[in-house]
Every structure is written in structure tokens, then in C-alpha cells.
Symmetry: C2
Subunit: 498 residues, 2 copies
Amino acid sequence: MFTRLLRNVPPFRRIVGVRSYLKSSPAGYSVTETPEAEPSAPVVVTTVPGPKSLALKQELDPIQNTDAIQFFVDYKKSYGNYIADVDGNFLLDLYTQIASVPIGYNHPRMTQVLKDPDNLSTFVNRPALGIFPPSDFVQTLADSLLSVAPPGMRQVITMGCGACSIENGMKAAFMAYRRNERGGKPPSKEELDSCLINQAPGCPDLSVLSFKNAFHGRTMGALALTHTKWNQKLDCPSPDWPIASFPQLKYPLQDFVSENSTEEKRCLAQVEDLIAQYRKKGKPVACVITEPLQCEGGDNFASPQFFQGLQDICKKNSIYLLIDEVQTGAGATGKFWLHEHFNLREPPDIVTFSKKMMLGGLYFRDHMRPTEGYRIMNTWLGDPSKVVMLREVINVIKEDSLLQRTADTGAYLLQVLEEAQKKNPSLLSKARGIGAIAAVDFPDGPTRDKALAKMRELGVHLGTCGTATLRLRPTLTLEKKHVDIFADRFNQVIKQLS
Amino acid sequence: MFTRLLRNVPPFRRIVGVRSYLKSSPAGYSVTETPEAEPSAPVVVTTVPGPKSLALKQELDPIQNTDAIQFFVDYKKSYGNYIADVDGNFLLDLYTQIASVPIGYNHPRMTQVLKDPDNLSTFVNRPALGIFPPSDFVQTLADSLLSVAPPGMRQVITMGCGACSIENGMKAAFMAYRRNERGGKPPSKEELDSCLINQAPGCPDLSVLSFKNAFHGRTMGALALTHTKWNQKLDCPSPDWPIASFPQLKYPLQDFVSENSTEEKRCLAQVEDLIAQYRKKGKPVACVITEPLQCEGGDNFASPQFFQGLQDICKKNSIYLLIDEVQTGAGATGKFWLHEHFNLREPPDIVTFSKKMMLGGLYFRDHMRPTEGYRIMNTWLGDPSKVVMLREVINVIKEDSLLQRTADTGAYLLQVLEEAQKKNPSLLSKARGIGAIAAVDFPDGPTRDKALAKMRELGVHLGTCGTATLRLRPTLTLEKKHVDIFADRFNQVIKQLS
């Protein structure tokens, strides 16, 4: 099996691929520390996971459940768009730590951030950011998060992860909703007292409307909005909050314009219905939350008109719209935020981020800003060292024009999927994507999983989502040459499967 | 006012304090980068916050609510037990970023971790840890988290922060509880389907019992267990879960042995009552959560017997005991975990950590281990770079015998509080503490706040908790000389106030 795998990689490339890690780096690190170039093609010398990964998994198993582990990674040897595993394989990585690597592994500019003595104390001393912020915090925020804020938004709070961003986005919505209801009056003594024991009126029975197949995280509040897989939710109590259908579009889009428009209207009508229903039920909706593209749920797109309609419904009902860009932001789509493609009449009320942004957080509009201290707070409130890293990611994105490149490379990638689909309509469907986000469906989960395994044998690492979708989430530094490698391997695999 | 403040600092110390930052460091960083020693005493040259802090706060204010900000910090100049603000003040820090700095600012060993080329890729490349762990992960865990695991616990999962640790601790409890109820049978199709839409039986109506005045975090699940201040909870919907009284002990303890024992029994009886009540109500308790010492709620101690009783109740009812050591762990009490002082009959089922541990996470016993993959999961699952930092913190704790030192210094500190209290019984009460945790009560909040402000004027930075408690949370590297400085300033302030 190994020799068969190796036959798929031209020997020259195999050698170059390995050799590039044997040169010494100008930075003075030994070769194993930081490679200075990608291999020119994937190098596959064992199955993945290979024997070393399997041995490490066995070692880890007494400490924690390891069922989700795919393979162990040599992060020192990984570089750019290539992930190196502990068995000596170098895979072209189009999944990138569940879409959380913005500009590739060991990017020299990121390495430099770590080596810069000026950043040392930021990495060594983690502050309670909301109470004792560092001297350069305002400037660092201005140079990073504010420089890429969604149009019309200028308030931002950092968080440790995506789930915490969602949790606090919801809280900001609940607070703004009740502030509105109070009409400028301070909270009553009854509210202040009852909230301490989880009772109304201090803890009112408000709800958040989410969509079927949505994924927003796994803490209790975020999990109440997540509706993808049982292993995320089973056994956990969850509030009775409204869940609307998300449009299930038919592809190719141009052949189903009217059907898809009808489908989106059906979903919007359901949103309005549920808002009315839950108001009657005594659980009024304070906030509608949506991904601008359902990722984990199956890379489900909806049209700009759908999101415009959703915003209209929110405005009409005086409730808030939270767009969760945890997986779709940071330039993945050719614009910095996916919702910028929607031509919304006004900015969303809250936008959450994490993953490729290096840390979590939320942008919000001025009217969502908490009016008292300590309302949106925790000890760390994110981590300034991650903001410093984000600043450099943004610098690289700007200097290397990675938004444009991602749009171009993404279009090229989508073309590959569309052509493969055209040739294999019984195997592939719904090729879709935008920028560094791309997906295609297989007839069923097992066939999709087989394709993924075969792609890995050929040195290309991919992800899945939904029930039968192949999920591609490359970095913003993906180039056409990488797409060509993907295309070559993908066409081989599809041929084998058809 | 400034000259008066300066008069409190002997001129020699003032100069030494400042001069120590003017020497060049052997590591080759310029003087402003990393100081190499603490000042010999606090240096106070302005009020705190000073004009530069106030200006920065004003600059930050358009971006986020800044009401909670106390002052802006120069983390480059902070060192050891001294925090430097942007106005040139050096305060003896006995609050340490809400108890989250284990061995002081810019500890040379931590600086070395950052400069070690071997760690570079760990800081640059953040993995999806549960799926693609780094090659050295098992070894790093063994050298860090497992080497200080609470006795009897060998399972550990890392998380990004304290709240996420609590959220996932609860989830582990819910899952174990239902696994138990299923008696080895797999979940039914009805459970698998209903959980996706937040409905029973897949999302059962289970509850977690917490205590009045507890603090466990601010995400929806953790917030449901938090009962300290309105600004943390107001306007946020929260499940109806049982809340028991936490013992309110009378001090000095030796004078109220019988009263306190009665009080603890009353609270335990209430726990049993609530468990029965909520079972009848159809919201059975799956888990009891408690801090081993209520921190945010007012540094409320209870006896080992109380916690033993609590564990007995949990065992009797086949539910789980989660001890939340987010603020009390990492050696703060002379043992690595506070609950090690309790002589529990068996280990707790789950122990959560964060803050001084550099990242969040949970230890749990084998029977709490999820039996399927992806059950306790998120994209980052903490951050291996923080584990590498923790490993060095633990090395320093072991090499410098900081547990013993913390016990000794803590006893000395407590003595200072007790003596001051003896001399000023109308002003001070309930002096209490263990290791790097110490507290004393004032007659009311405003008097406590006045004392805190006066201490800051004299160069000592402290925290508060509860309604009238002064909260001390120094590092583990606190020495008697620091306690002497605290004592000197504290006695001055108490004299002024009495």
C-alpha cells in the first residue's frame, strides 16, 4: 500500500519535499525548528494516521477520550499550506485546523512576532484585560480589530474563543432588549434581587431564535443555538427557544431561481411566525442569530435577499440581529466579512468572530453597548498576545493583497469542483463556495468519507460537514499551484469512485 | 497630595526602586523591556489612576465601556510582585490580575520559555487540539497537568478559560448521569433526534445545584450557578436550578465551634431537601457544584466536614460533585489544590481550573470520561502554548518549594491581619485565609473601599469581594519582606480610619 501511495508522488517532488526541511534556516534555528519553504507537492510515506500517530494516540488514551483524533502533527515541520504529521507525511492542508489558520503554518512574519523583544512581555504577562489593560492596548486595537471592523461598527470586546463570543453577544442583546423595555428607567429593586436567584423579573424569560443545522458553539447558551450533531447536544438540558428552517437551496442556482426564492420566503415567514408564537408563549425573542453561511451544518448558503429580509424582520420586531462570523470572517471570502457581500440596509447589531482571527470577540453597534461596567466581562477577556498576532496577520493580508488573491484562487478552486461535477453528475453535486470556502456534495456520507480517505492517501487533507459534504477551508495564502495539486488528486479519486 | 504620598516612601527606596529599571539586562533587552528586579518598596508618584491612565481610558472609551478599568499597566516594567502603571507608579500587587498570576510578572523563567527556540512553533501554530494534537502533547501533559493532578484523578481536558471549564464539567456530569440511567444501553433514536431541537428526552430537564454567593463564571451555564452581583446576571434568562445556602461561619472559629457546626448541618440539610424537591419537580439534580472557598462571594470558608458531608450526599443520591478550583488551585493554599485540605473520603468527580494555571480545563475521574468522541470538544480546546507556560510555572513551584513558602508566608500574612484586627475590633473582623489567600472584613462596603483607596495611595494594590471584604491574592513568590511592607501600610491606614 505504501509503495502504491508513493507511486502517486513523482520521486523528484518527494525528494524536494523532504530536502526543503534539511536546509538550515537563516534565522539560525536548526532545520527541524522552522522550515523555510513548502514542499513542492505532498509527500506520503505511510498511511495517515501512521504508526507513530497511532502509538501516540494510544499513549494519550488513558488521559482523555481520543476518538476524535485524526493524527498527531509535527508543527515544527509544518509550513505554509502543508501540514506535517509525526510519521513524515506532508499533506496539502485544505482544512487548516477547522478553518482556523489564516496565513499558513509557521509564517515567517508570525515567527517574527514571537521573536520580537518588544512583544515579549505581552506573551509573558496575561492581564485581566477589562480592569488592568496594557499601556498599548488602545493602539493595538486600532491597528488590528478596528482596522478591519465590519462597516458601521466601532465597538469591540475581545473574548477567549468562539463560544464565549456567542455567549456574550447574546448577553449584549438581552441587556439591550431589556434596556429598551425599561425606556431609560433604572432596573427595579425586584429585578436586582431576583436576578441573583435566576428568577424573573431579573432573569426574564427571553429567547434567541436560531436556525436548523446551525452551529454556534458548545457552551450552554451557544449549544442552545446549535443543531447539527447529536454528539454535541445529547444529555444536556437546553432552553425551549425557537428554531426556524434555514433555506435549502437547489443547485445550480441559476436553474432554480424561483424555487429558491420561494424557499427563502418560506423560511422568513417561519421566522416571523416563531417570533409571534414565542411572544405569545411568554418567551419573547430578543435576538436572531445566524451564520452568514452554515458551515458545520453543511455549507448551506442563502442569498443576500434572505439576510436582508431577516434584518427587516428584526427591525420590524425591535429585536437584534447577530451574525456569527466565527468561521467565515478574517478575509476567507474575498471580503473581510462574509456579510459584507449581503448589501444589508444597515450593519448587523452584533458580529462575532474567532478562529482565523486568533482570538474570539464581538463587534457591536453603539446601541448595543452595555451602559454599566462589568456587564460583559470575565477575568482574561481574550489575550493581548493573540491581538498582537492578529495585528500581524492583518498586516500580511493587507501587504500581500490576500483578499483579492483569496477571491481569485477561490474562483479557480470552485471552477475545479464545478468541472469535476459536470463530468461526474452522479457522484458530485452542489459545487459551491466563495473565496477560501468551498464545498461539494456526494450522494451519501460513506461515499464522501471514502473520497476523503483516498484524498488523504494522495496527500490532500480535507474536512467534512453536514451529512454528505466535502468541506474545503484553505488558508488565505492558497495559490493556484495548490489548487492544481488538489485538482489532480481530486480527479483521480473521482475517477476511481465512479 | 503627591508629596504627602512620596513622604511615605523613604527616598532611598524611591531611588532604588526606579534605578533598578535603569540598569541594562544581561539578556540584551533594553532597560525598558525587562527589568531584572523588584523595587525594594512601592513607588507612588501620582494618584492611581494617574493622568496617563485617565487619558488612555478616555481614548478607549469610544470602543468599549471602560467603567471597570482601574488603571493602565506597563507590563514591560512590572516585575515579580510589583505592578507598574503607565504613570510611573510601582505598586506591591496583592490582587495579581484577579488571582491569575502564579509566580509574578516577567519571571525570568517565563521569559526564557518565550525565548526558547524549541517553543517557537507551539506559540506560532495553534492547533485544533482534540483532532490534530502536537507531537509532544502527551509528554507536555505528563510534565505539567498530570504531574499536579488532584490525588486520584488522571483524566484531564484543557479549555480556554474558567467559564468553559465549568460549562464542560457540567456537560460531563450530565452525560455520566444519563449514561448511568441508561444502564449501558445506547441512546434511543428519539433521544438522538429530539436533542437536535432542544427537546426531551435528548435534552433532559436535568439541573445543577449551586450555592448562594457562588461565582462560577458568566456564560449561560456557568452564570446559572453564579449568585454574587446583579451586574453579572441582570437581564439574562437563566434556568430554574436549585440554590442552597452556603455556610456563613462566625469568627473567630474556635469561639463558635458548635454554632458553626449547626450552620453547616443546616446548609447540608438544605442541599438534601433541594435534591429531593427538584427530583419531584421533574428537574433532577445531576451535579452539585461548589467552590472549595467562595471567593468572589466574600471569601467564605467552610470546614472539611462540610465538604465531606456534601460528598456523602452526592454519593447517596448517585449524583456528581464538581469542585471549582479556578481561583483556589495552582498551589495558592500551600497544597496544590485547596480541596486536598478536606480529607475527602474519595476524590471529587470533577475539578475545574484556570487563572494561575495559565489556561482552563477539567480533571475528572475515570467514570466521568465521555464514552464517545466529540462529546467534550471545541475548536481550540485550550492552547498548547499555555500548557508549555504552565509546565514552567510548575517547574518553578517545585524547584523553589513554593508550596511550602506560600504556606509559611501566608501564615505570616494572616498573623498581620489577626493582629490588626485584635487592635481594631470595631474596624476589622473575620481575618481569615490560607496560603496566598487572605481576607478581612470591614464594617461596611464604603469603609472597605476607603481602606483600599488609601492602601493604593501608599503603593499597595488590593482587591475586594463580597460586600465588605478586602481580598488579598498575592503570587506564590510573595515573601515576608512583602508582607512587612503590606503590614506597615495597612497599620497606617487602619490607624487613620479608626
